[in-house]
């Protein structure tokens, strides 16, 4: 080894905190940890080099040579892909990976898109070529074994070692709330409810319901058709309206939006429709909480009810935690729901913390 490398090694050893476990890694140029939240709607990464990035989980490939040359890219991600989707073969891969439906014609294409998305999010974390890169990826609990296989294989191309974990567990671990906590992770495709009781959650500790972001979009669309039949819109337009105005509070600023009617932009007040659609996910969520509470040790049920964590993109609906509390009061006789501070990075922060805390020998064995 050269002198400069020896010096770096000395520096490295000096900078290692006293309380750290012994390291077995051979490389001396540093260790980069990545926490990745691979979600249906958004994919986020938090890294130990200070990088935090999030992109919407959309992937697009130019339809032909001219599109490719105009777009100047072989593959587009996130909002850019969404914006140029008419020129692209467009995928929302995590949506398909969750379905376990491998017979779909486009399953392989979606799998490829998921791989490319994972590569992109790793690239966005800006790992150095000379560093060991260890990653923990939060994946949907329902992801099929084939999907997990694809994720691991893809991640191994860019990472020195990789582990998967469930998304709600990562959220709870990141917030250091591992005992008697109920985590509600509202994603786009699913809402995961997870009971943490000081051990690794088992299958019986997790419930998945499909009342999530996409369900709200579809319900909102139904209500719009019902109440404003002349308005022309797409699900994507409604999604954007939801992200801007979503609320379950009674007293909010009116959600006034412009939608075309026979080509003419017309203003609509969609406050009521949006509130009703958002409100629609509350009863099924509390129903799920009820099941998890009811099957828990009676001595700790009260504590569990008072420690409900609301995470995921869906938690950004204004007043949702209060609406859940009200519904819990009705169905469970009380409870307290807290919204996490960073809904977008909650999962990736937790995965990063897991990666940081994972002993070196575990990483070595999963290389």
């Amino acid at each position: 080894m050269s002198d400069s490398k020896n010096k770096k090694k000395t520096d490295a050893e000096e900078s290692t905190s006293a309380g750290s476990s012994t390291a077995t890694a051979e490389k001396t140029e540093g260790v980069l940890y990545l926490g990745i939240d691979f979600g249906t709607s958004h994919t986020s990464v938090a890294a130990s080099n200070g990088v935090r990035e999030t992109i919407s989980s959309h992937v697009g490939y130019p339809k032909d040579v001219v599109s490719r040359k105009l777009l100047k890219k072989d593959v587009l991600f996130g909002d850019e892909a969404m914006e140029k989707r008419l020129s692209l073969n467009f995928y929302r891969p995590l949506e398909i990976l969750k379905t376990k439906n491998h017979d779909r014609e486009d399953f392989e294409a979606n799998l490829k898109a998921a791989k490319d998305l994972l590569r992109e999010i790793i690239r966005l974390a800006k790992p150095r070529k000379d560093e060991l890169v260890y990653g923990v990826i939060g994946v949907p609990a329902q992801a099929s074994i084939h999907s997990k296989d694809a994720i691991i294989k893809t991640a191994k191309e860019a990472l020195d070692s990789v582990m998967l974990c469930s998304e709600p567990f990562a959220v709870a671990y990141g917030l250091d709330m591992l005992d008697d906590v109920l985590v509600i992770d509202i994603g786009a495709g699913t809402t995961d409810l997870c009971r943490m009781h000081g051990t690794m959650p088992e299958d019986s500790d997790q419930i998945t319901i499909y009342h999530a972001g996409d369900w709200v979009d579809n319900r909102f669309a139904e209500l719009m058709v019902e109440k404003h039949p002349s308005a022309q819109f797409t699900i994507q337009m409604l999604k954007e309206i939801k992200e801007r105005h979503s609320s379950v509070d009674e007293r909010v600023e009116p959600a006034l939006v412009e939608l075309p009617v026979n080509g003419k932009p017309t203003e609509f007040d969609v406050t009521g429709e949006l509130r009703e659609a958002c409100q629609g996910i509350v009863p099924p969520i509390v129903e799920g909480l009820k099941k998890l509470v009811a099957t828990f040790d009676p001595e700790f049920q009260k504590k569990l009810k008072n420690r409900v964590l609301l995470a995921g993109g869906g938690s950004q609906i204004r007043g949702l935690h209060l609406a859940i509390e009200r519904e819990m009061h009705k169905q469970l006789g009380g409870g307290k729901c807290m919204r996490i501070q960073e809904p977008v990075y909650g999962g990736s922060n937790g995965a990063l913390k897991i990666a940081h805390d994972m002993p070196a020998e575990y990483w070595e064995k999963l290389k």
């Binding site: 490295a12 905190s17 750290s20 476990s21 001396t28 040579v65 040359k69 582990m163 575990y362």
Partner: protein, 411 residues
């Protein structure tokens, strides 16, 4: 070419249903008459660059037919009797190009692709100029191809021009591209200040190589050529494949030169040593034989024999030394020349590789950001709930191990 797709309405090739984002136009006729009407951003145009067909004078006025409405729209100066012209979408034109490529591969004749880009005139600030320049450049391309009696298919957008030419070798196309480059520089275009010179970079690709061939690869290689031309300062015509081949040739040449030197050194001295050694031994043997023929073996004769042989050996050794030294000097000259050649080749290789690296660097290859950690961390024993967390981390690890085992058994 054995057959051509019929571009006329109701022709034998139905147009593909998928539509590219850019629209395009297909025309036939002499370049001066052909019409390209840029009417919006990202507007693409496709044209048949085939040589003009001999037609009655009245028929040389082209007309344009919209593929969507199929209603003929006559241009200024068109006669009522002029035949309607098919206006093709970019997707349709690409489909035709692909057909040509397939046909070329099937029948084994050459096909070359040309991608032309405009140097400077960045898209953010000078898009209106680009919109004015690109159709004019396309007209020049048409003019150049017609004058050289070459047929092809082409598409243009504000960012690039793409054309393929069946039965045209890359060398011929390179000449055309150079001609286009010169003509481009002389262009004066309304709406573009005269002080702004039109500078073009072009990339050329072809199917006359042993590697994998497809329409996509052909375009990609031409595009790479254009990228190399632009990154090398622009105003150039480059064949990407030729650059790579040149690099490989340089590498091979350096290797073979080094090998030649090594072989020369080892063989030369080994041969010389063994030959001289043999010759010396033979000479000494002959002298010994001469003395053997003398029947009287007096003390004096024996002493003379010993002294003669000793003297002969000493002389031989001295001669060999001077002979080897002379040869070594000569050989060193040859080796010196070879080594200078190797150094030159290596320098050339280095420059080319550095240039390639510079191009790679221009493609925003990021070196990354360093982690705050120099070593694997792991859970600190002092942390609150360390035991619980350790157990959970172990569970995460074990479930991952189980997953890997399950995946291994699946595969």
């Amino acid at each position: 070419m054995t057959s051509r797709p019929d571009l006329r309405p109701g022709g034998s090739h139905p147009p593909p249903k998928d539509r590219a984002p850019a629209r395009s136009t297909a025309l036939r006729g002499p370049p001066a008459r052909a019409s390209v009407r840029p009417d919006g951003p990202e507007e693409g145009r496709a044209k048949d660059l085939r040589a003009p067909r001999r037609r009655p004078r009245a028929r040389t006025h082209p007309t344009v037919t919209s593929p969507t409405t199929a209603s003929p729209v006559s241009e200024a100066g068109a006669t009522p009797s002029a035949p309607p012209k098919q206006r093709l979408s970019t997707a349709q034109m690409l489909h035709l190009m692909r057909l040509e490529m397939d046909r070329a591969l099937r029948h084994g004749y050459p096909i070359s692709a040309l991608v032309v880009g405009l140097d400077g005139f960045d898209e953010e600030h000078h898009m209106p100029w680009r919109r004015a320049i690109m159709p004019a450049v396309f007209q020049e391309l048409k003019a150049v191809t017609f004058q050289n009696d070459i047929r092809g298919l082409g598409v243009w957008t504000e960012r690039f021009q793409l054309a393929i030419f069946p039965h045209v070798t890359p060398d011929r196309l390179a000449q055309l591209a150079e001609e286009l480059r010169y003509r481009g520089a002389a262009l004066k275009i309304a709406g573009v200040p005269e002080s702004e010179t039109v500078v073009l970079s072009a990339g050329i690709a072809h199917n006359l190589h042993p590697g994998p061939k497809s329409f996509e690869l052909l375009i990609e290689e031409a595009e790479t050529g254009m990228g190399l031309a632009q990154s090398a300062g622009g105003n150039k015509v480059v064949q990407a494949r030729e650059v790579e081949r040149e690099l490989d040739k340089l590498r091979e040449e350096v290797d073979s030169q080094i090998q030649e030197i090594q072989e020369f050194q080892s063989k030369l001295f080994a041969d010389v040593d063994s030959q001289e050694d043999l010759w010396g031994r033979e000479l000494v043997s002959k002298v010994i034989e001469l003395f053997r023929r003398e029947p009287e073996k007096s003390e004096g004769v024996l002493r003379v024999e010993k002294e003669v042989i000793a003297l002969l050996k000493a002389e031989l050794a001295a001669w060999r030394e001077t002979s080897t030294a002379t040869r070594m000097i000569e050989s060193q000259k040859t080796i010196g020349q070879l080594e200078r050649r190797v150094a030159k080749l290596t320098e050339s290789l280095g420059i080319t590789e550095a240039e390639l690296k510079r191009v790679a660097a221009m493609k925003n290859i990021d070196l990354g950001i360093s982690s705050i950690y120099r070593n694997v961390q792991g859970l600190s024993g002092d942390e609150a709930g360390a035991e619980t967390k350790k157990e959970m981390l172990k569970n995460v690890f074990e479930s991952n191990l189980a997953l890997r085992a399950a995946l291994a058994s699946l595969s």
